[in-house]
């Protein structure tokens, strides 16, 4: 029996690695993505890279959004990217937000992080980028 297949909503994991305890920003982004029609898995604070990648695989997300304020991005983000690479054939795309100096940002882009948002980025900008990444046009 063929029930008509529906266009599947984009699925995004929003995760907050590192030890800082503020997730206001991450939650605001999660809600904005929901309002754009996405299914957002909010994984909460203090996730290790291993936990993030595992959650992304189980939840079969299209995108991972990483948020960090603690300054540990250069320790944590490359690890996430390395673990993702081990998931052969995975096409999960990663974007990130937080306080990330320019030189770190360009290194992270070289590791495959598609977009990096500073504290001044608008929600509209983040949502649009997420949509483009999910559609494969960015």
């Amino acid at each position: 029996m063929k029930a008509k297949a529906r266009a599947a909503p984009v699925r995004v994991l929003i995760a907050k690695p590192g030890l800082d305890g503020h997730d206001r920003g991450a939650k605001v982004v999660a809600r904005a993505l929901r309002d754009a029609g996405m299914e957002v898995i909010y994984a909460g604070l203090r996730q290790t890279p291993e936990e993030i990648v595992r959650a992304a695989v189980e939840e079969d997300v299209d995108l991972i959004g990483l948020s960090i304020l603690s300054g540990a991005h250069m320790a944590l983000f490359p690890r996430v990217m390395a673990l993702l690479k081990k998931e052969k054939g995975s096409r999960i795309k990663v974007f990130a937000g937080g306080i990330i100096p320019d030189e770190d940002a360009s290194r992270l882009r070289r590791l495959g992080i598609r977009a990096i948002f500073g504290p001044g980025a608008s929600l509209g900008e983040i949502v649009q980028t997420a949509e483009r990444l999910a559609r494969g046009t960015a």
Partner: protein, 320 residues
């Protein structure tokens, strides 16, 4: 009927490939043909394990209880699949799925699989595909599946058709809740869990529930058990699992249960037929010129909508 060789996707799921399982869930969730094919293939591997539903209002601690039940089951060597459902926004269709937050970090334990699901417009506290996702988890070899309902404040009735044991989670000072939920609450609960028993009032709540439960019907011979738990000052979790197991054992020995299983499957099949017929009919009507003619006549008050509908479904109608 001879069993065809398993497809690679089905074989991967049975082998315990997490990515294959995750992709299969996505396919089933979106009604993709690949999902139908997998379910057809894997169905013989289902129907044997406890599917435990946790339902109850938002914030009573369902996700926290699932976290501790998972830990309890893992320490007893049982693997666990979890499906946690949250509502989709009726406006955007999007959803924030937050149940995973409560899951303690066990990044390297292959004996757990946690999947968040949006209800995608379904009423009744689950998504349409939740039952099939539970089947996939069973086919993947998990020993127990836990299902968390939306918890809208209404009784999440859909869990009846999915879970083998239903746990209704409540909290102390639940007087009002019990009153508003009462219709259907006792029909649905195999086990009552009074969570947050670290807060005052848990004993009273348990007593009130016990009184209500003893008044309620036990048509198939099972009377709901009541267990007090806390997840913040962890207590009662082994007792909660024992109550669930007692119900599972009761089911295994109950002749009424065989009839109940049959009835549920019949219900599922009829439901699917209904959906399919409705879908085909809607498709046909979209292009039926008679529909437009009838709408014209209804607009002109020559016909009423009900009569127009009757004419459209009448065999050989010409839409007059």
């Amino acid at each position: 009927m001879s069993r065809p060789r398993p497809s690679t996707a089905a074989a991967a799921i049975v082998r315990g490939d997490r990515r294959a399982l995750a992709k299969a869930i996505t396919a089933v969730e979106s009604g993709a043909p690949a999902g139908d094919a997998l379910l057809r293939e894997l169905y013989p591997r289902t129907g044997r394990i406890p599917i435990v539903g946790l339902t109850g209002p938002l914030g009573v601690g369902k996700s926290s209880l699932i976290n501790l039940l998972v830990a309890h089951l893992r320490s007893n060597g049982r693997s666990v699949g979890v499906v946690a459902v949250d509502p989709s926004s009726p406006f955007s269709g999007g959803s924030v799925l937050g149940d995973r937050i409560r899951l303690d970090r066990r990044a390297d334990d292959p004996g757990i699989f946690f999947r968040s699901m949006a209800s995608r417009g379904a009423s009744g506290g689950l998504a349409d595909a939740t039952r099939d996702v539970a089947r996939l988890l069973e086919a993947a070899g998990f020993d127990v599946v836990l299902v968390e309902t939306v918890g809208s404040g209404q009784v999440d009735v859909a869990i009846r058709g999915v879970a083998t044991t239903r746990v209704v989670v409540l909290v102390p000072h639940l007087g009002d809740e019990v009153q508003t939920l009462k219709a259907g609450l006792f029909e649905i609960a195999d086990v009552f869990c009074v969570n947050k028993s670290d807060l005052p009032g848990a004993e009273t709540a348990e007593r009130d529930l016990a009184e209500l439960a003893s008044l309620g019907p036990a048509p198939d011979g099972w009377r709901a058990r009541i267990v007090r738990t806390s997840t913040t000052a962890p207590s009662g979790i082994p007792q909660l699992w024992s109550a669930i197991e007692a119900h599972e054992a009761f089911l295994a020995a109950s002749p009424a249960h065989a009839a109940e299983r049959r009835r549920r499957l019949e219900e599922e099949i009829v439901g699917r037929v209904r959906e399919e017929v409705a879908r085909r009919l809607a498709e046909r009507l979209e292009t039926d010129p008679a529909l437009r003619r009838l709408v014209d006549r209804v607009l002109a008050r020559e016909l009423d909508p009900r009569t127009a509908a009757e004419r459209l479904v009448a065999p050989g109608h010409r839409g007059r």
